[in-house]
Structures are given as structure tokens and as C-alpha cells.
Subunit: 293 residues, 4 copies
């Protein structure tokens, strides 16, 4: 990861994401670690899954005046982590995540993401757009971003994914966004980016997984349609849900009307999921997410 | 049907519900029928299912000054109806529908409905509560309504349904409301009250049909839960949807929290569906509803 | 208005918008006019303001097989219109409206509108962007649209508006969209485009009119923020409301968070209002709108 | 306060609500206090108002195994509290709050609250209903609750409030709920129950304060109506907002329709505010609330 200073001008902060078996003294130990080294807590979110006895925490503190140098925080924290069998990750607010966008033919999510990128709404880098169709190259060019076209057939899929993975590594990609990418990624591909691939599905999962959900929603006569953003896993449309939202429909709505209204929903839901992820607000445990929104 | 004058004091109106194959001149013929006999249209809602070429209409007009006597409207309208192969029904705003409530052990929908009844929010009569459990008899007594307990086993189900049907006929029931009634009605029973039985299912159908939907929603990690009101059909949780609504949940919500929040949702969604039905705003076509809300 | 064929490939339809004092026989007369000339009604929406006794109607019919030539429809309809003292306008579905966008420094609504334009979501032409700041010229260039910078001071405001009006006429503009334009238009300017200027205000009007609504919302401690799209009138933020929507906030939200969430709301609400307008679904009566959504 | 064991059967927990100037080491000190005495944290919610540099915390821990006896927790915690200049309160999950309901003529909120009470949804006692009208006495009797009628005129208001206060004290009331009580409480009265009186206002405040908000909403032509629950303060409709929600309306809605839809909104919003309050999830600071929902 690069560590270019963020666009906000705010002093950088450190963010710890923690999950572990629930025990007494967890919060006290972590907060004491920060207080002892003169850190000021900015946000503390904590959750206990009472049923499974798992503890989750996101803690963010100001690095200004913190007496441990950035490079040593992890090493020193490891002692506490080991004591409690924590799974943890450490992030810094001024590290800029690098995103790759995967698209097919539908441009609405792509435009939405690029607009947010271009206007500086998100502190990210987007060096790369990958597609299985040539259609959206003009959009990429409009925003001066590299567009890589990988035509995919049953025969070349494995080979093309291998090339895509090489390209992603080369660009040091932290997060893959499937912005209405209409090609299923293999389990192998997904395994390289566990909880680092965000997909948008155009239904209120688990209703209407798979293809043509708006047609199915119409046929069932639902009064509300939805969109779901989730981490991609080997099983289609079954990964941990990050965000969902809905919009009302009525008998007046044709399938085309649902598709039109759904586009706005997909844009919103996907962009919120990306926002939570790049703010390091999402933890995953057994196919469910904890989102400290 | 009784024809007791409604509580509103407004002059009565007539309501025609129509569906038929779409043809030119439909609206003109119906509105001319009303205009010719000096009727003033209060509401006209019309919908064309373009895909299936079906026409739907709800038209309501003031009976004050209308030159056809109430009892002859149907006979005279039949000529137009036959010309266009219409399915139609005629209703009067001051006819009070008679409801039977079916309940099991959960009281929240029952209390909600009885409160609306008691405060005069709905122009209905509720002469009868039927249950497969004795638990809610005290609630019925609190509101001075007859409570009929029909314990149901695999062996006596057919017999008990026969007795229930007799009771419903005796009380001239127009609409059955399954207010969290946790017993599946037989296809035979349902066939006696086609599109006259409203059920509330505690999920956002078609997600999580069947038993324990909040548990399933929790396990899947959804960020939104819902409730669905639909006409009961022979197939469980598959009837035409009248109304749905949702509420947000997060990782903080246990199953019990979902159950608690869900109760408010169930009350709201069921009461809206009942409202639409008793206002004669719902038409059904091939398992989808047209709701002129 | 130009009459270039729309992008949908569907056969063109005609749309009548009508408002007049409520009388018996109104719907019958209009629908008979269409039926007599072999028109097939696609949509009919009708509303009676019972309190003010005003009748509103939007009726759309297929022009295929309609026996009156397009150019004569208005003339022939005028007889009915005069009989009922109707205010009316006639539109054709394949006429492409021409939009001018007014912007200042905030790019999010501009990007959103241009993306919808570029992807063909809206059947419109956008020949022109007008601004009181030079900041967003690069965005306009990215989408190959003319950007006209009119610096405005107290002294030159009248003169600049005169030049803007000339430019709008020259480009035959049908609809002006104030996409977060932070300069108040004069009453004179507004009077030239009555109900043809759509503004987006970043609050849930009538709460928090004027400047810095997110700051005021924060100070008041509201739990929900909103956005409002309305026709601009001489009085600031007081014109007829076309569309509103809201989003939840909590004590966690700083003013900056509200601004960030509000951007998505503003984009959505403005784009819906534009959509309703260009579909000829909005009628205005005494500062209230009828939106046949 | 009485300390009758709650209905849930769960072991009791302690809840600390804290607000104070933000300082380093706050969370560490509080959590260490609990950990040292063998307490297991169930929930920890913390918030820093960055602008005003105020720290808020709600911390709940299991009393099972906690080594400080219940009666001594406050005394021992005081040392930490003083060090950080904390405002704090200590609560126990199995203490049952005692509510008084104030009503006038509209029964819907009263029915809703009594139904929740009766079904055991809320762990509260409701010994008392107070009204300035005799109308709802029958409802109170239906639920076997004492109904005290205090007719109020300009002349007797002070005297009646004095008698009401005596009655509230006698019944050891912890929370007053104004369930559509249409009589303004004096500043003196309110001062006796600071942040212990919850009101429901039938608009989306700060829009439409005062009387007849639905009429004002209709006149302004808004597309969304709302309800607001807030703590009563000396200034009408200006107290700290606890909860708000909204529902869509359209040109089809008369004022009466808004009133009807609004009732459901009022019930929901008021009941959520009561729920947050009795769960000790609300902190107030300078007319804004922190709600750890």
C-alpha cells in the first residue's frame, strides 16, 4: 500500500479492526494500550455476538502525539492480540486504497463511481477498468482511465482470469468492484481477493438471485424492489451482505420501469458498500458482516 | 350484505371494479354511462397491463342525483359489461363489510386491528374471532367480541374447518383476516373465500417463506427485514401480494430484536392491506394485484 | 420544438394535460374524443381536488391509427376545451426537450445529470451549461457540452440575466435545471420560464429554507434530512414542490457527513423531478403540484 | 424506584450513562473499572462530539459475578466520575419504570401504548392516565387503569397542574408520555420532569410546529409528511428530538388522508422514543440527543 497523504488535510489516524472470542477485559486492554501511549480515541465501535460469543471492535485514534511510531504499532499490539486470540488488521486513514472496476455493458454504476472519484468524494485511486466487453471503453477514456478488454469464452476463461490476476497484482489493487459485471468469477479468482471483491446484485437478496431478477420480481408481483451489495464468494450471490436498500413499485411499473428505478438503487447501494469498505468499517464473520456505519 | 349507513356522514357513492381484455373505447363507454345518468365521478383509476393486454378500472361516483336507482345499476351496466367481456363487481361506500379474525397466540396484530375497529378508524363490523388456541380469549373479551376456540389436530382438521365455514356463513362474513394465524388452511377452505382471505407473512416475500423467517433473515445477514400481506391461496405464502414494507436492521439486532421490530411492521402492512381491500381498491389478475392506492 | 423521433423505437403517442373546474361529463367527453377518432388510451390519470373543485387529467394515447393528423389535434380538441374552460397543453412522446443546466461550484448534480444524458437514460438534448463560476468548465468539456461563464455581481446582474435569456432563446431551451446553482434568479428572469425552471434545495422544505440548511439541521438535532425539488418562483424556496425524499441521520453525523449523504439525496430527488417533468407528468395549481408518477 | 425483577428472566445488568468533556483515557478508565471488578461488558456505545469536545458513553455490563454489590457501585464509580467531571446516571435492567400517560380526545396513541403494555412488550408499569377531557375514560377502563380527569381553564391551570404534580409524585412516576395531549404544559410543570416528558408532534419538526400541521403540510404541497417525538421543554415543539419518521403522500391525499396516515406514524415514532428512553439509550446535550439505538 502506498501512504500518500489523504485529501482532507486532517492529521492521520490509526484504525484497528478486531474480532476474537468474547472475554472479560477486552475493551479495557485495547483502550488502555492506546491511552498509555497518549492516543486520543476518535471512534470506538464494539459489538458482541452474544449467540456465538464473538467480540468485534473498530477503534480509531489520533496519531498526533501518539508515542509509538507508526511502523511499530502492529508489533507492540501483537502482545495484546495474542493474549486474546484476536484476528486483527491495522489501517491508517491517509493510506489511499487502489480500486479496479469490473464492468460489462451497463454504464450506470461505472459513471456513478467515476464521478465520485473525479470529484474527490472518495480518497481512492482507480488506475484500472477491466471488462469482458469493449462497449464501455469510451467512458473510461472520457475519464482518462486505462480500459482492459478481456473477451471471455468457456475455453479461455481460466487463462483470461490468470492474466487479469497478474494485471491486478501489477497495479497493486486493494479492492475489486464488480460494477454490474455480468461474468461469474471462478472460485480460484475469488480466493485471491477474499472480502476484497464487492458485487452489486440487482435484487433484494436472498429473493431473486441469479439472472433477470427484475423480470422475476415483476412476475411475482412484489410491491418493493431492492438491490444488494455483498462480498463475492465462490457461491453466486451468496456472499456476506454489506448493504441493501429498496424502492417501492406498483402495478404501474413495467419490467422496464423497474430496471430504470433499479439503476438508481444499484448506484446508491454499491457506492455505500464501497464507502464502508474503504473507511474500514466492515468486519466479516461466518458470512455475516458487522458494519460500523 | 347489510347496508347500514357509514360513519362518515358523507353521501354514499358507487364503486365499480372492472377488468377485461384491453380494447378501444372502454373508458369512454363506462364514463359515458355514468355521465348520461347524471353521475359525478369522484375517482377514476385505470391501468392497462400492456404485456398481457388487460384493462383494469376502479371508478367511483356520487350517487346523489344519479338517475338510476341503486338496485338497477348492475342490471343496466351489464349491457356494457357484456359488450367488452368485463369481469366486474359493484360496491356501495356505505355498505359495512363484516370481518372475521383468525388468530393463534401472538396478540399484536389482533390488538392493532381491534383498536382501529374500536376507534372507528375502519367502517367495518367484527362479530367474530376464531382461534386454534385459547390464549387470546381475554383480549377478545376486553373488546366484547365473540371468541371461538377450535383446537385442531391432524385428525379433526377437516371437521373443524367445516364447522368454521358454517360459523362464517352464519355471521355473513365478507373478509377473513389471518392475524398471525399459525395454522395452514386447506385448499378447500380457501376456495370458499377466494381473494377474501388476507394473510400477513413476517418476511419480505418471496424471501424466507414458511416458518421462522426472522431466524432465516438473521442467519443470512440481511440488512433489511420485511413483512408481506397477501391473499391466501392453496399454495402457502404464494398468493397475490397486496402490500409490503420493510425496516432496517444491523448486526446489532438479535433475532429477538428483529421479532420486536417486525411486530410493528406486520401491524402496519396488514392494516394497510385491509384498508385497501375494504375500500375496494384491489383487483387480482393471475397472482398479481392492481392496488389503486 | 423539434420533433426528432425518440430513442425508444416505440410508436409515438400524444399526451394531453388538462385542468379545469370540476364538472360532470368531463372524462366522458375527453375519452369519447379519443375513441371516436380511433385512439387507444395508454394511460389515463385523473384527479379531482374536492376542496377547490378543480379537475386534473393526463391522458396519453397511441397515435398509430388515430384518424386526426398530428397538426390538427389541438384545433379539434379546442372545442371540448372551450366548453369546459380547460387549461390544457398537448405533447408528443417523440419530441425531445432541450435542457439548459445552471451550476455553480458543486459538481455532483451536474455529473449525475450528464451521466444520465450520456447513457441515453433521458430522451433530452442538453446543448448548454451556464454558470456564475468558471470551476466546472472541465466537467462540461469532458462531456463535450458548451459551458458559458457569466460572472455575476450586484451591478451586472440584470445585464447578465438579459444575456442569459438571449442565449436560452437562441438554443430554444424548454427546461432550465438549477443543479445546485447558488445565485438567486430575479423575478423577471423566472417569469420567462414559468414552471420551466426546476431547482433542487438541500433540505426538506419548508424546514430550513435559505442558506446552509445542513448546518441548521445539525443544530436542531433532526434525525432525518431531506432534499426538495421544486419549480422556481419569484419567492426563494417557496415554489411548487415536485419531489422530496429523505435519509436518516444520527448523532454520529457531523455536518460534513450530512453534506456527503445529502449529495446522493439531491441527485436522486432532482433527477426524479426532471424525469416527471420531461414525461409531462406534472401539473401545477396554486403552488401545489399534481404529479401523475 | 422499585426494583421488581424484569419479565425477561435474564440476569440483571447495570447501565451507566456518561457525558463529560472529552479527554484521553476516558474509555480506558471506565472499562478498567468494570474489568477489575470482574464485570463482562454487554454493550458499549461511545460518541465524541468533535465540535464541542464532549464525550458520551453508554456502557452495560452483566451483574453476574460482578464483585461490587449493587448498592455500592455508584459510590465507587464516583471517584472516576469526579476525576473526569462526568455527568452520569446508573440504571439497572430489572428496574421497572413507571409511566403516566397524558391524553386528550384522540385515542390512537393511547390504544397503541396500552396494547404494548398489556402484551408485555415493554417492561413498564402504567398506573395512571391523566386527561383534560373525559372522552377516553372508557378506554382506560377497558385496560383497567385509573383515569384522572382534570378540566383545565385559563383560570385553574396553575392549580390543576399542582394537583397533577402531586398525583405523579404519589404514584412515583418516572416518565410522562404526552400521547396527543392537546394542552400546553407550563414551564414550571416541565421543570419538574426535565427530560422525563416525551411528546409526539404530528409533523416533521421544525416544519409545521404548533397547531394543525397536517393542514399546513397540505397547503404547502409537501410530498412527505412526518412525526417527531421529543422531550418537552418550556418552549413549544422545540425540545430535543428523540425520533422522527416520515411517510409519502401525493396530490391524492386530502387533509383527512394525511391525518389517517399520520396516526400510524405518530404511534410508531412515539413508541420508538419511549422504547429508547426506557432502555436508557438517550442522552441529552444542549437540545440535541445522542440515541444509542
Amino acid at each position: 500500500m502506498s501512504t500518500i497523504s489523504g485529501e482532507t488535510g486532517q492529521p492521520p489516524s490509526a484504525i484497528l479492526l478486531i474480532s476474537c472470542p468474547d472475554r472479560k477485559g477486552l475493551v479495557a486492554s485495547v483502550t488502555e494500550f492506546i491511552a498509555t501511549h497518549n492516543g486520543n480515541i476518535l471512534y470506538l465501535d464494539q459489538h458482541v455476538d452474544v449467540e456465538k460469543q464473538v467480540f468485534f471492535m473498530r477503534i480509531e485514534w489520533d496519531l498526533q502525539g501518539f508515542t509509538i511510531p507508526r511502523a511499530s504499532i502492529g508489533t507492540l499490539f501483537e502482545q495484546i492480540a495474542n493474549r486474546f486470540a484476536m484476528q486483527w488488521s491495522l489501517h491508517f486513514s491517509n493510506t489511499i486504497p487502489r480500486l479496479a472496476l469490473f464492468v460489462s455493458r451497463l454504464p450506470h454504476c461505472l459513471y456513478d463511481i467515476l464521478s465520485r472519484y473525479q470529484t474527490g468524494e472518495w480518497p481512492v485511486e482507480i488506475p484500472l477498468i477491466i471488462s469482458n466487453h469493449p462497449d464501455l471503453e469510451a467512458v473510461a477514456r472520457r475519464f482518462d482511465i486505462e480500459y482492459c478488454f478481456f473477451p471471455i469464452t468457456q475455453d479461455n476463461k481460466h487463462e483470461q482470469e490468470t492474466r487479469q490476476l497478474a494485471l491486478l497484482r501489477e497495479h497493486r489493487i486493494d479492492l475489486i468492484v464488480l460494477a454490474r459485471y455480468m461474468q461469474i468469477l471462478s472460485g480460484t479468482f475469488v480466493s485471491h481477493y477474499s472480502h476484497q471483491i464487492i458485487n452489486i446484485h440487482h435484487s433484494f437478496l436472498p429473493a431473486f438471485p441469479g439472472a433477470r431478477p427484475y423480470h422475476s420480481a415483476y412476475a411475482r408481483g412484489v410491491k418493493i424492489i431492492g438491490a444488494t451489495s455483498h462480498y463475492a464468494t465462490a457461491e453466486l450471490d451468496a456472499g456476506p451482505i454489506i448493504e441493501q436498500d429498496i424502492t417501492r413499485v406498483s402495478h404501474k411499473h413495467t419490467v422496464e420501469d423497474m430496471v430504470r428505478q433499479g439503476r438508481d438503487l444499484e448506484k446508491l447501494v454499491l457506492s455505500r458498500a464501497i464507502w464502508y469498505h474503504i473507511q474500514h468499517k466492515v468486519l466479516v464473520h461466518e458470512n455475516r458482516t458487522v458494519v460500523f456505519a
